[in-house]
């Protein structure tokens, strides 16, 4: 198909709302953590509408006035279309959304669609759509006309005169796509489908074969395709400049000047940004208004409104409590870049209006007023100057700083093309590169870079990349890895830091085995190609973000309709190719053995008792920082999982935590902070080694408050999962493999116990995390019944016993489906069984 003109399109969506579209189906979505998958139930109508909505969302997103769409239903209860108005007939076809530029309301309307009780004829709908579209476009012949027909093909079609319709479509140059629910395609053949559906499918294929632009697609496939990463090919604009060699001003006879155009060769693409929203609180005025509105809009109080937020900058002066501004430069850091400085306790912020401010620069603590038009700029002249040439082999690839540019000779001038070509070819033959200084506009800041000759099939050009100035290079000192010198000044030949011959051999085999040069697909001649191609590597953040943005815009509730998993193309290169890993297995095992790398447990700085001056310790700041991030939410759980994953790596040295006196003992008993992660780790360590010493002298009073803290890791008698670190204990036991049932039972016990204890809200997040892990393990290890019994009991414990914990159940409910029963479809996927249906599972968690 020739390149389409963006916009200037009218798209008609024909949606089958016949009763058969109300059939339920299982749809897989991504699980809570974004990597595993889950299933949810929805009607075929809901499911196929997702496609329509994603298409429309794309139009909204692009925001073109010339990109319009309309929606026509068939199988609708009522009849409402232009042909029926004029000539009658065409029953149960209705124009649901008139042709217009779509907006959020369009989506809301689509979401409201329900299957009807009558059936409608798709060919009738098609004819109505063609007519409606044609009348709307009237004389605009240049516009693109598209029609999407969504159906399950379960209802009879009036097969009369369809050839005429096809002819008409061809004459109007209409593109038709039939999207069928569970239609057969190359990858999928469904055996037990109804006769009528089979016949209809055949018909649709015949129909599109008669069209110039027509296709039949399977709904599942097209839905995947919308999330496929598409790279919009951007052709960069050419901007003109001059390539100079020599002094063109004073020695024009010798100096060379070539008219060139530059364009980007690589350009960093960024994910679309999210807009910020917040739930709007009801104000008294709004309540009143809502009360008034109640007359016409029912149930308005059950709604929540979210408002888009705008950014506002405010400026403040810092003052001491006493009211006087701090004297300049008295204490370092008094001039602070941001307002959230932690040391602002005895300071007062005074708001100032932007209009009262003057612009200036800081020279340390001194103020330097900016001149009216800022400081004078370096006088420079637009153009690219070659400063010299050097051999390509001396080019230091790691110094390249940014995006790469093409430099073309003026495409309109053969003279310039030939001139540039001769230089490119001469440089290419001589294997040299050039140092070139580029000023983009007059008075622009110069940038230094390297020009690299590039010879294509039909054209020669340069590539230019920016290189660092002296100011941009940091020469940090790094210790030698090969030359170790001891305190006596001698070179050390053997040391744990230096690899042995055995280790070198193992590494060599590893590098050979992990080679990617023959790990890709085969080419036409059957030779294996290298694996990994930048042209096929999609930026996962960009495409996942876009998918998420679109999805949230088209669904009514993310709890019931979570985001589908990312398209597989996005994570293509996330793991080494299987072939390679298989080939390298032995080498990997050997490396693991001979290198014997071990994770070092994190340290907490020791506090010396005899210290007369106790200087402020940076680690204390870290505690503060960490606590902040805990509040922010995600990091703690993520970190916990991460460190959990490392528990199998043996810790190398006992830490000094045991000896360590409690940090800030007095304050902490008051505030009972969440223990810092590092301390937790230490705690675990010491606990494992010297259980009897673990509890009392530790710097984490929060958890040792619980009654049986003195017992080893706080385990109830006969339990293998303790109260203190249930998740860690659990994972450890699961790794052992032979105590799964017991571990599952015990973790379930711990969760139920913990939530009814006083102060349990502090551990809500941790317990939720335990539940996620427990459910995952139950599903994987065929302990499905154990989970289902557990959640039922948990709900009971929370809601129907004393003291109970409704708050906690609210939290579980908030997470919803991922923590509900394990249903039969889910279990089947993991190769297990469950007596619970999907809808039961949905209902259980929502009630």
């Amino acid at each position: 198909m020739p390149a389409e003109r963006a916009g200037y399109t009218v798209t008609m969506f024909l949606v089958d709302v016949s009763p058969s579209m109300g059939k339920m189906r299982q749809v897989s979505v991504s699980g809570k953590d974004g990597t595993t998958s889950d299933t949810i139930e929805m009607t075929n109508l809901e499911w196929s509408l997702q496609y329509v909505m994603l298409k429309i969302q794309e139009m909204i997103f692009n925001g073109r006035k010339t990109d319009k769409c309309g929606v026509i239903l068939f199988g609708s209860e009522e009849t409402n279309n232009i042909i029926n108005d004029e000539n009658g007939g065409y029953e149960h076809v209705s124009e649901y959304i008139p042709i217009a530029q779509p907006n959020a309301t369009t989506l809301a309307k689509l979401q409201a669609l329900e299957p009807s009780t009558v059936t409608g004829d798709p060919i009738d709908a098609l004819i109505v759509a063609i007519e409606t579209q044609d009348r709307f476009l009237n004389k605009k012949r240049t516009w693109t006309r598209k029609i999407y027909l969504l159906t399950d093909g379960e209802n009879p079609i009036e097969l009369e005169d369809w050839e005429a319709t096809a002819k008409k479509m061809n004459s109007l140059d209409i593109q038709l796509a039939v999207i069928g629910v569970d239609f057969d395609d190359d990858s999928l053949k469904e055996e037990d489908k109804s006769k009528i559906k089979r016949a209809n499918e055949t018909f649709y294929h015949t129909l599109v074969s008669k069209l110039d632009h027509g296709a039949v697609g399977n709904c599942d496939y097209v839905l995947q395709e919308v999330s496929r990463p598409d790279v919009r090919e951007v052709k960069s604009t050419l901007s003109g400049t001059v390539l100079r060699i020599g002094d063109t001003d004073n020695r024009p006879k010798e100096a060379i000047e070539i008219m060139v155009k530059t364009s980007k060769c690589t350009a960093l693409a960024r994910p679309k940004s999210f807009k910020k929203f917040a739930r709007r609180r009801r104000t008294a005025a709004a309540d009143e208004e809502a009360a008034k509105d109640k007359m016409d809009v029912d149930g308005d109080e059950d709604k929540t409104t979210f408002a888009q937020l705008r950014m506002r900058s405010e400026y403040y002066l810092e003052e001491d409590k006493a009211g006087s501004v701090k004297p300049e430069g008295s204490v370092a850091g008094s001039v602070n870049g941001d307002a959230d400085g932690a040391d602002g306790q005895d300071k007062r912020l005074v708001k100032v209006e932007k209009e009262e401010l003057v612009r200036g620069y800081k020279y340390g603590a001194s103020f330097v007023p900016a001149p009216e038009d800022d400081f004078a700029r370096l006088p420079t002249r637009k153009g690219m100057d070659i400063c010299g040439f050097f051999p390509q082999k001396n080019f230091r690839r790691e110094l390249a700083m940014g995006e790469v540019y093409y430099v073309w000779a003026d495409p309109a001038s053969p003279m310039q093309q030939v001139a540039l070509s001769s230089i490119v070819q001469a440089m290419n033959d001589g294997e040299v590169a050039a140092i070139a200084r580029w000023v983009k506009t007059d008075k622009g800041d110069p940038r230094m870079g390297v020009l690299w000759p590039s010879v294509f099939d039909d054209i020669d050009c340069f590539l230019w990349v920016q290189m660092p100035f002296a100011d941009d290079v940091r020469n940090f000192p790094f210790a030698s890895l090969e030359m170790l010198i001891n305190k006596k000044g001698e070179v050390v030949k053997e040391h744990p830091y230096l690899p042995t011959n055995e280790q070198m051999d193992a590494m060599e085999r590893f590098v050979d085995a992990m080679d990617l040069m023959d790990a890709g697909e085969k080419d036409e001649d059957g030779n294996r190609q290298p694996w990994f191609d930048t042209r096929l590597s999609y930026n996962p953040a960009i495409h996942r973000t876009k998918q998420a943005l679109f999805h949230a815009a088209v669904v009514q509730d993310l709890n019931t309709h979570p985001l589908p998993p990312p398209h597989e193309e996005l994570t293509n290169y996330f793991e080494p190719p299987r072939r390679v890993l298989k080939r390298a297995r032995a080498a990997i095992e050997e490396c693991k053995r001979v290198f014997n790398v071990r994770e070092v447990p994190k340290k907490v700085a020791r506090v010396r008792k005899d210290e007369h001056v106790r200087a402020h310790d940076e680690d204390e700041d870290m505690l503060l920082l960490d606590r902040q991030s805990n509040r922010a939410g995600p990091s703690q759980s993520q970190r916990a999982t991460q460190s959990g994953a490392f528990t199998q790596t043996q810790k190398t040295s006992p830490t000094r935590a045991q000896k360590k006196p409690a940090v800030n003992d007095s304050d902490s008993s008051e505030t009972e902070p969440e223990p810092d992660e590092e301390e937790e780790e230490l705690l675990l360590n010491s606990g494992a080694r010297k259980p009897e010493r673990a509890a009392p002298p530790l710097p984490t009073p929060a958890r040792s408050m619980s009654p049986d803290s003195r017992i080893d890791r706080n385990r109830a008698p006969g339990r293998i999962v303790g109260f203190t670190y249930p998740l860690r204990d659990f994972k450890k036991n699961i790794e052992r493999g032979d105590v799964v049932t017991k571990a599952v039972e015990d973790l379930a016990f711990v969760i139920k116990e913990v939530i009814v204890r006083p102060f349990s809200p502090r551990r809500f997040d941790e317990m939720i995390e335990c539940m996620h892990e427990l459910r995952k393990v139950c599903l994987e290890e065929d302990e499905i019944d154990a989970w289902n019994i557990f959640v039922r009991e948990l709900k009971h414990t929370c809601l129907e016993t004393e003291p109970g914990n409704e708050q906690f159940w609210e939290k579980v409910r908030g997470i919803g489906r991922p923590l509900s029963f394990i249903s039969q479809p889910e279990a089947a996927k993991a190769g297990g069984k469950s007596a619970i249906t999907e809808s039961e599972a949905q209902k259980f968690i929502q009630d």
Binding site: T105, A108, G246, D247, R251, E254, V260, T266, A267, L268, F274, F277, F306, A307, Q308, L309, Y315, Y316, V325, V358, Y361, G364, S366, A376, D385, G388, F389, F390, A400, M401, E403, V404, P414, Q417, A419, S421, A426, G430, I435, P446, D460, V473, L481, L484, L498, M507, L516, M517, F532, T545, A552, A553, D557, T571, F574, F595, V600, A615, S635, Q638
Partner: protein
């Protein structure tokens, strides 16, 4: 070095991936120059640089400190500096900063954010010292009978730091002395122990000591006499391990033993504190993981941005800015924790029939059933960016070095060095990998998520062998992590066809290229200080010192060396031009259009340059139409904006600057 892992912090800023530079700006850097003031440091001698002037080690040290201050103030306007002298009998007066520090030490400038008066004070002191050689000796009388115990010096440093340095800053002491054995004799051992203990105290306060030992031919500096037993490796794994019978203790990385003249150069090496951008695990294969740290060795140094100040009559104060998010309709500020993320709702459609509905659907709001979730939390958003990955590097495999093309570049590289502190055995594994990859001429392809709020990228890992030159380790051993472009970042070539040169012309070009080639050259970053940045900073500095800025005195070192170029290759370049003018292909009239040409360009044959020159000679350029003028200017890459008069002026300027060949 940052004592904890930077990546472990969750950044507040979810919206935009943080720029590398801001990591540095966020932290203040504090340097305390701690300079020996003993008689040998004050010994006056001829200055090698200037005739008829005398200098001494102390003077050079102070001068170097002043230079570092001047540089730092531009790079990090929030950085703080102080100067302390030891082995002097001068005392700080009571009530003054430093009054209570140990005897024999003296605070010349307490730690404070660098400002103009402070730099000026030092400049004046140095000027006076140059005028009268005894001035320094009188101002800072040296202790002649004994030396201050080094332990006392460290303790004083600790107190000075404590009084002046903000908690979160990177704190360093630049320790300058020329005495390699300050405590000979019987009491030596005891003083070593006390120096060590006080140094450990300093380290625990988060302060690093960077020694600069001055060595001369007459008085070579031998660190093993005293300092080897005092100084600690900066990456100590355990303070208790640093005993004499530990497993072959290794000297600290950062000892600089230098000649006095190189002091400034050595200090500049350490000017920016070595801070890791990230510290993450590097998974070579499942279950085979080492620790690494990443350093930004190449980071674009930008001009400082202007700030807002409030004029309070008597003085000008900087203001702090704060960004708030507000619901504009309600004029209500929203707490950061309550912010949710979603799609721009867009403007309501302008179509007439929708107007009513648009009104109902308030602009900029979305209303849904109670309890429904239609927006994402900050964590969700971060998960979309990371795809659930944890920070770390993951090896995907190896490729030939030649697979890394010139154009596979989008941003600067990051240097990777092993981190023994997080995984023991990292160094040997890293070294083995590095050696093997260099030997086999391989690069590695890795998947990298460097920080929790970044997004995953693919990188090529380029090995760099360790190379030594006289001044120390010039090229450090390690890998350069080069971010590869995604398919999304790659732009197609907009021009596909062009005329090509004949062999004759190519050879003519090769001749002058050869003359302009530096045989063993490469791109030399050190030769090119950023001229625009220097120009800006020179004006800023002049303004801060209330001096005049002289643009004439400014030299742009990035300009091509025209004289040398013409001398070497001028004739050959001229010959190449003549071949070009004769070239057949070059003189084809109708250019093959490369596909993307506007109608206006092709519709009519453009008036050629000769014709325009002829009109110009006759002074009849005004006879040309605006299109013709524009067309001509465009072909010369000149701007085509403005009225006809301006266009004519521009054409004339160009023709005057480019006389007929």
């Amino acid at each position: 070095m940052a004592p904890y892992d930077d990546w472990n912090k969750t950044e507040d800023d979810e919206e935009e991936e943080m720029q590398d530079a801001s990591l540095f700006e966020g932290k203040h850097d504090v340097i305390l120059f701690c300079i020996d003031c003993s008689p040998s440091m004050l010994q006056m001698r001829e200055d090698e640089r200037y005739e008829d002037t005398k200098t001494c080690n102390l003077m050079i040290s102070l001068e170097a400190s002043m230079q570092i201050m001047k540089r730092k103030v531009l790079v990090g306007p929030n950085d703080a500096v102080g100067i302390m002298l030891f082995n002097t009998t001068r005392r700080n007066e009571s009530g003054q900063a430093g009054a209570d520090i140990k005897k024999g030490t003296f605070v010349y400038q307490p730690i404070a954010t660098i400002d103009a008066p402070k730099v000026m004070e030092l400049v004046q002191l140095l000027d006076e010292a140059r005028e009268s050689p005894d001035m320094l000796k009188e101002t800072f009388p040296p202790m002649t009978d004994a030396r201050v115990p080094i332990g006392d010096v460290f303790t004083s440093c600790n107190w000075v730091m404590r009084d002046g340095a903000p908690k979160t800053a990177t704190k360093r002491i630049f320790f300058i002395t020329d005495e390699d054995n300050p405590h000979p004799g019987a009491s030596g051992t005891r003083l070593i122990t006390s120096a060590r203990t006080t140094l450990i105290d300093l380290m625990q306060a988060g302060v690093t000591v960077e020694p600069f030992f001055i060595s001369t031919d007459e008085k070579p500096f031998d660190p093993t006499k005293f300092y080897a037993s005092v100084l600690l490796p900066t990456n100590i794994t355990d303070l208790d391990d640093v005993t004499d019978d530990g497993p072959a203790p290794i000297l600290p990385e950062s000892i600089s033993i230098t000649r006095m003249e190189e002091l400034l150069a050595q200090m500049r090496f350490h000017e920016v504190p070595k801070r890791a951008l990230f510290s993450v695990p590097f998974t070579l294969a499942p279950g085979f993981t080492i620790g690494i740290k990443g350093y930004g060795l190449i980071t674009e140094q930008k001009k400082g941005t202007y700030r807002y100040f409030a004029d309070r009559g008597d003085k000008v104060e900087p203001v702090v800015s704060r960004t708030a998010y507000v619901d504009e309709d309600r004029d209500a500020e929203v707490d950061k924790t309550e912010i949710l993320y979603g799609m721009d709702l867009g403007a309501p459609s302008g179509d007439a029939e929708d107007e009513e509905e648009a009104k109902e659907l308030e602009v900029g709001t979305r209303t849904v059933a109670l309890g429904s979730k239609v927006f994402y939390t900050a964590e969700d958003v971060r998960n979309f960016r990371t795809l659930g990955l944890e920070p770390g590097l993951k090896l995907l495999g190896f490729k030939d070095r030649s697979e890394l093309a010139f154009e596979d570049n989008v941003k600067h590289s990051i240097f990777i060095y092993p981190d023994e502190m997080s995984f023991s055995g990292s160094k040997r594994t890293f070294t083995a990998l590095l050696r093997t990859m260099i030997k086999k001429k391989k690069i590695a392809i890795v998947l990298a998520l460097t920080r929790r709020n970044a997004s995953p990228i693919f990188c090529a890992m380029l090995p760099q062998a360790e190379k030594v030159d006289e001044s120390g380790w010039r090229e450090p051993p390690g890998f350069h992590l080069i971010p590869l472009p995604f398919a999304d970042d790659i732009r197609a070539a907009p021009v596909l066809k062009g005329f090509r040169a004949s062999d004759e012309l190519k050879e003519a070009a090769a001749k002058w290229i050869n003359k302009l080639k530096v045989k063993n050259g490469s791109y030399p970053p050190d030769s090119y200080p950023n001229p625009a940045l220097a120009y800006h900073n020179a004006q800023l500095e002049a303004s801060a010192f209330r001096e005049d800025f002289d643009p004439e005195a400014f030299e742009d070192l990035t300009l091509p060396k025209h004289d040398m170029m013409h001398k070497r290759a001028g004739q050959l370049m001229h010959e190449w031009k003549e071949v070009l003018l004769e070239d057949e292909t070059a003189n084809v009239i109708a250019a093959p259009t490369a596909g993307r040409k506007r109608k206006a360009d092709t519709e009519e044959a453009a008036i050629d340059e000769d014709e325009i020159r002829r009109l110009h000679d006759k002074g009849q350029l005004h006879k040309l139409r605006v299109e013709d003028l524009k067309h001509f200017l465009k072909s010369k890459s000149e701007p085509v904006s403005g009225k006809k008069g301006e266009l004519i002026q521009r054409v004339e300027d160009w023709l005057d600057a480019h006389p007929r060949v």
